[in-house]
Subunit: 399 residues, 2 copies
Amino acid sequence: MKPTAAAATPQLLRRVNAQSVLGFIRNTESATGTELMNHTGLTRASVIAVCEDLIRRGWIRELDARGEDQPAGPRKGRPARRFEFNAKAGFVLGIDIGAATTTAAVADLRGTVVGRSSEGFRAADIPAAERIDVVDRACRGALAAAGTGPGSVLAVGAGIAAPVDRDGKVLVTQHFWSLFDVGLRAALQDLHGWTVLLENDANLAALGERWRGSGAGVDDLVVLLAGERLGAGVMESGRLLHGRGGAAGEMGYLDLVAGVGSSDGIASLARQWSAAAGGPAAGGPASARRVFEDAAAGDPAALAILDRIADRMARVIATVASFINPEQVVLGGAVADSAQALLPGITARLPRLTATPPRVTVSPLGDSIVTVGAVRHALDYVEANALELELSLSAGPRL
Amino acid sequence: MKPTAAAATPQLLRRVNAQSVLGFIRNTESATGTELMNHTGLTRASVIAVCEDLIRRGWIRELDARGEDQPAGPRKGRPARRFEFNAKAGFVLGIDIGAATTTAAVADLRGTVVGRSSEGFRAADIPAAERIDVVDRACRGALAAAGTGPGSVLAVGAGIAAPVDRDGKVLVTQHFWSLFDVGLRAALQDLHGWTVLLENDANLAALGERWRGSGAGVDDLVVLLAGERLGAGVMESGRLLHGRGGAAGEMGYLDLVAGVGSSDGIASLARQWSAAAGGPAAGGPASARRVFEDAAAGDPAALAILDRIADRMARVIATVASFINPEQVVLGGAVADSAQALLPGITARLPRLTATPPRVTVSPLGDSIVTVGAVRHALDYVEANALELELSLSAGPRL
DNA sequence: GGCAATATATTTAGCTTGTATCTAAATTAT
DNA sequence: ATAATTTAGATACAAGCTAAATATATTGCC
């Protein structure tokens, strides 16, 4: 009979307190023992013990006494030991795997992106092995640009345009993705020993937007990712919603429900919009910005198109507002550039459609929205498991 | 500068382990020290220490050695001390506050309902003080029926038909509820010293359904509560969704979005259905079961009505399936009796409307669905805060 | 330059809680 | 009766925290 719960031993205290110290020091430039005492509620003795533990494990470093740029602090008294988070103790990879291209970003443990690389797929229906190879090439390129190597990667976040459940398993549906993506996870694990965290791209967009986009600090946030398709990433109370099979926010069928006919529904809206904005789906850049330029110039036909799109978007947002009641909805993805023109039309319609209209904004992250979120996802994993992860210590970045 | 986090002290270990022991013993008839060791992973010494702690605090009791009905266990060896959860160490109240009536249920700490009482409101627009008085009378009645008194109440869960946010605050909207409900919380707190946990009634229905209804063990669950109005309680990953202002699942406006016209929309659907089923809203029992009886008899007009209702419900469920992807949707509330007739029509339509059709069931809890959920809500609070709560120890139930 | 004031570092003692291990007790089976 | 078995209880010890006393390094003033 195996225990259902692990016993709490004194070591747990150290883990909890170390996480507390590490969590604080990660978000500050550097900290003295006294500062850590004040913020964690621990006594000095415990703080020092924890710090020495963290130094031994490589997560923080002690600065030379009285270095150069010490912040003000008290001028009198024995000088304090200063500790700083070792942001270069390892790196994370954030990957955006699209239909046509894939982008990998390398970030240090504070989330600063230090390398980036993109690769295109030869065709849409290439075999799984080739697709994995292209993704791997993008990863290696990004690592090289960062001046480090595969050995320094502590976790990998990867976004795909398919439902992914809480355990990182891809929902098997009509998407051809399903077949090759489970392969990706295992492949990168086998190739480099990486821990790969698969997620839905819209979900990662939500993480990214809350971290470094226009949803900073918003706990109840929905990101509508409109690009190759329309998907929603939903955060409630600061947590991502997955649902049973990870299909929360999958609105492919929604036009049958919310629209008056499928030709005017949500799925086609994404295509229309993408085409109008010059996205990769259809239409091409020919019909591209002209709609928006014409609309800006006052052309009635172009304005009518924008109006219809705004109406559809407002209905989608109102529906999500009814079920989720988010504080804010962010429009992101390939069409974010053109979304600004839609905002007035959308916000004007919302009060008539829902009792709880959310704030609507446009993502400032551009087409890096998914990679930023993927980096955040990987960092979340690293931060949650910091004390279980082994840092291969070395001077400087490893190759 | 106040600490942002509390330091983890050795006492935390005891709290964690005591919760572990208490959590196990609560869900079993009685347990020996050895059984507790096996399930918690603690050593015997720790288990005994924890148990004696819990006995001192009143949460568990030691049974007389070798009582009557000891379960099998090992036949040889020194007889084991047996501990049991003290289910009568206190009680919780679960209240359903409707528009016309209010019902209070008293349950022991295992959730067994031991008292119940209902009171009707004189009119819909009575002043707040009177409404509070009626609720209080229902509570006293239920406590009397349970053979106990206000002093034994450890927590109160109360469900109302208005948005309630995560902190138990009522969203101020058009509902007249808002005014009086904040009053209710403070009033019961002042009158009896009770901790009152306000929640949306549909949310409580979801808690109840997952606990003792048809959603047992389902982590991603939506309950559609159709009675005086139509509301949804949404659970994702075992947690209730509130959204920014607690308005998650509020579908009052949804007909503007999902319907082709408001007269055929969701809000009117609730009225139609309620009327057809003989609910309190309109129509009365005259037009009541006849629709369902006629439909069962094959009457085309009645069948058409059912069909239209099923179509609407299927669209609502499909929409929620797109955004939340629940494993199961439960139909509950006053119309649950008649919902069985709609199931085939709903489930038949779902696959065309969503890629992730949930299982659809009808609640077996009848009109106690909200009180059951309210009891569960109160128990959740008590269980989470058990070691912080003071039990006024006494022999037998207190008055 | 010496000295007080100040802030931090370090040490020591003690408390809580846990594990591990050994011995005692109570019951059943032989 | 005796052996086997199972649990209870006691002892020793380790991890981690607090609290209090002591030591150290720096600033500022005389």
